[in-house]
Amino acid sequence: MSKPFAIMAEYETPAEIMAAAKKVHGEGYQKWDVHSPFPIHGMDDVMGLDNAKVGWFTFFGGLTGFVTGMVMIYFMNKFDYDVVVGGKPLFSGFYAFPVAYEMTILLGAFGSLGGMFILNRLPRHHHPLLANARFADVTDDKFYVVIECEDERYDENLTRTLLEGTGAQHIEMVEDAQ
């Protein structure tokens, strides 16, 4: 048993899909996407997407790292067991800095990657598009516009007409096999 998931149009070049995306966006679709083998410069504007939110994850990751590093060192070397070491101060931001700095970067990096995955709802190994034979070229040299059936403006005929008007080589329905 399967139900229609989306309508998919295939294009040959970035320029074509850029134009197509412009049209689809102009029609006010929400649940649609452009799929390409590499990121296309300017596509975000065309699709009307705002700035990505990954930076917040990075920021809070990094902040956590820095604070953890400093607090950990303060706790371990000054608070919990204060030992006289080399005549150096029990705690100093100077000597704690390298470690705190590395922790900032480490947790910042975790934040970035994790944030990317969370925002992208990845990993998602089961996806209707992945079952589509033709769509396999998306990671090679083909470009696709996919408009999901759940979009409010979706209408099987109108949408197909719209996509045909953008010069797509091939248009087909993608089924969601249960």
């Binding site: 204060d82 006289v84 080399g86 005549g87 150096k88 101060p89």
Partner: protein, 1124 residues
Amino acid sequence: MKTPSKTGQIGNAAEAQYWRSIGESVGELEHPDWSDREFPEGASELSEDFSRRDFLKLMGASAGLAGAGMLGVGCRRPEEHIVPFGNEHSSGQEYVHGEPMYFATAMPTRMGAIPLVAESNEGRPTKVSGNPDCPATKGSTDGFAYASVLSLYDPDRARRYTKIGKEMSKSDTVLELKTLAGKEGRTAFLMPSANSPSRDRLIGKIKKRLGENADFYVHEAIDFCVHQRAATQAFGQSVVPNWKFAKADVVLSLDCDFLGNEEDSGLYASDFAKTRKLAKATDTMSRLYSVEALLTQTGANADHRLRANALKIGAVAVYLSAKLGMKTSDASEMLIKGLTDDQKQWLDACIEDLKGHKGKGLVVAGYRQPESVHVLVHQINGVLGNNGKTVEFLPASANDFKNLKDLSSDLGKFERVVNLGCNPVYDGGSDIDSKAIGDKTEFRLINFAQDESHSDSGINAPLAHYLESWGDARTSDGTIVSVQPLIAPLFDAMTELEVLAVFADPEDPQSAHTVVKDTFSGNDAAWQHYLHQGYQEGSALDPIPVEELELSQELPDIPYRQVPEGSLEVVFTRDYSVDDGRFANNGWCQEVPDPINKITWDNVMSISRKTASERKLNNGEMVRLELGDYEVEAPVWIQPGMADNTVSLPLGYGRTGKLRIANFKYEKRPLINNEFFGAEDVPVGGFNAYKVRTSGESNITTGIKLMSLGRTYPLSSTQEHWSMEGRPIVREATLEGFRKSEKKRAEELDKEGYSEKHFFPDNMGLGSHARNEGKIYQHPYKERPSLKSDMHQWGMSIDLNTCNGCNACVIACQSENNIPIVGKEQVAKGREMHWLRIDRYYTGRNHDPKASAGRIKDQGQNGDDEQHTEEWIDDPQVVNMPMACVHCESAPCESVCPVNATVHDSEGLNIMAYNRCVGTRYCSNNCAWKVRRFNYFDYNKRPLEKLYESPLTKPALFLDWLTDREKPSKREDEWDLLELARNPQVSVRMRGVMEKCDYCSSRIQSAKITKKVKAGSGGDVMLRDADLKTACQSACSADAITFGNLLDKESAVVSDKNNPRTYETLDFLDNGARTTYLAKVRNPNPKMPDAYTEPFSSGEYHPQEPHGGHDDNHAGQGKAEGGH
């Protein structure tokens, strides 16, 4: 991390092969898992009041409690009652399990004894130190005394009684001995030298009983009796000279190494040091002149040193006597002609100085010189009015024993020889038919199971170590000291006295204990007291008043001997490390660097630079040395300060018996080598100089031939570089310089001129001086005062003026702190483990290190390759510097340790927590003094030849390893013995762990605990000087090391830190070392031809301008005029 046994341990008789365990009844003790103990432990012996039974059970209980023994080693208590030494540690106490006990005893030497206090842990003697109460020596000792503890546990010691190779029991041996004593025919007794009233008494008894049928021969390879013989000759009665260096203002040593290898050097060093201590600028100090061929410790410490061939010393004495107006002969004119003008000028000025100090000067001649020179020296002292003042003469029993040479010629007269511990095959001399003596020997006491004289003929009996013997001895001032055993003989060995007692009375031989007690002839209480304090009060001999001595005025017949043109003279000398070979199988002695050349595990043939270049010899080159019919192969060592055309041959090496340390062999290692491929053969153990030495007065001889063998011998030196490179490490001044105004002195001594001046630290490195000002952070002691103890702050001060580099502290430290030996190969790699080392630098007149700095100096096999070709080394000044962790307040090692393994404690100690150390070695890299020592291998566990072994190099070990993971690294059988010498108060470090001097932290803790236990709920817990000494401090006869609490204003260390000579090494690094040094002060005579206005090191030093740069060579006076 493992520690030596802390719990007492009962032996398992089934496994203890060498001696009986404590009572056979406990022998079957179960043998459960003991995997976490490192080595077996000795059970204890007791003081008298402790019931033996209770003790056994106690030990048993603790054994069971602790999990029982790995390899049972039960140390029997001696059967007679021994008396603990009375000091604060255990005064009047019974044995308390776990607490060390102290006993007074003495180490017999050739002519006397060194009174000692021995520490016993669980029945094992683990450490000795000088007996400070004994008036004869006041605690002075030498390195050999400290090392002797290890000899007790020498695994190569003889351990069986045999007759014609067949083993028998001790009681059977005594029966055999009784038979022997009753036999017809003449008996020759061959004995080592000793000064023991009991022995003398027994000899008297034997002579009385056997009359003509017994004769006594004394053999010593090094003959210190020459002093007595010469004095006897000079004064016509049996006297022995007793030098009083403490009273001498001017000392002239004629080839006399009284600070080094004369007997009683510890005592002399102690006396001499008293004249060299300077607390303030107005203090006076003595002046030492030395005329010698070899660079000896005495010469190294002399204010003026004249190089002269050993053969010419006689001529020097004759010249001096002539200058003093004593009568001369034609022969003496001949002798004087042999001296060069330079030498004469030197001697002229010197004798003037001596004349100016009549009655306060002292001329001494060394044991290497012939009797006639000694006699002349007595006459010179007589003229100078020194006799009776700086040298006293004590009555001595006539020492009319014949020697080995006599025995060799008399041999036909005797039916049999009884050898009481001599090894004539090894050290008898090349002209002695030792084999013939050996063949006639029917009984011998043997120290080692198979030494060179080993033979299965006759009866062999193991010789007891002094720590397991009853005995007595007279020290050099005649004080009678007791030798009492701390442990029953490990192998049931016999003492000399026991053997002699059988010959004295075969029917009913006395035990050694009874012999000694009878000799003592006091009541029981006096006897107890005698044993308790270790010496007999008032037994010191009164010197014979000089008026009663009649000094012979006859000019002794000094033979005219010259080094033939184109030939060399040979000087045989007692070795600084192994004596005449008696300490050759002692790992501590083998590994302690020679105080002069810093070579370990070998002896070398030293020659001067000039002689070497004339003969085109390189450092380390092997030569064949031929002397008459005899020859030996030896490595050349180019020794700074050697007289030209002199060759020195230290005795005591090249052992061939089964002595596994002295005669050490590395196994071939197919896989791992320092050289990339191909196995390298590392020969160990030096050469046997006795091979070319004849008996009799043969310390100096001529007529040798040298032939290069064209190969280089690898030597392991702990210090490869000789020059201080003009660095202000050891700081020196002349006495005159020291007496200058404070400012001037500061300039002269504060060499790190470009750094902040703190030559006069305002308050002794207490962490409270200006160190923290102007810094971006505070020392944590200030930041959080609770981290700093207000009761104890430890500090040390080392007086470079009195330190003579004798190594006693090094061995004492090794003994105290369980420092392993690592073997020649590891020393060659630079992995020696000594926490305390003595740095020795040579400085040269007009030597400019800058001229040669930065030149390519290739690394040779034996050190930096070019230094021994440089001319400045011919007449160097020598400085010694004991160097151990200086306990920096801002310790650079600590801040780089990632795991907090080395940190500061609240008392200013730089601590190593061994069990926390992971072994990054970063601390060592960051230590400017390089005093940290890393356990590159399991030195404490593995035999030296197996350091590189692993299951991967020896697959058979892999199977062993599967069954028992400890097995591949376990020592074999008797090597475990050595572990009994360990100090249970200090952790034994495993491989991969860094270690270093911790100011004897264990002693500090023990002292604190003792004090606290005594204080109870009171508050008297602050340690004073009397409560605590570090091992090195107590070992230092010259009193060069002071250690104590810097917060105790009465402590010696505080007054030393206030001494104007105090300085801190590398002070510009601002690490705040707690160990500071007192600068060396030389006392040159400005009238001498070789006078100097400042020490050579000052001339080498180039002050650095604060802003560096171009022409910075204009400060330091007397700087080098061009280099070489």
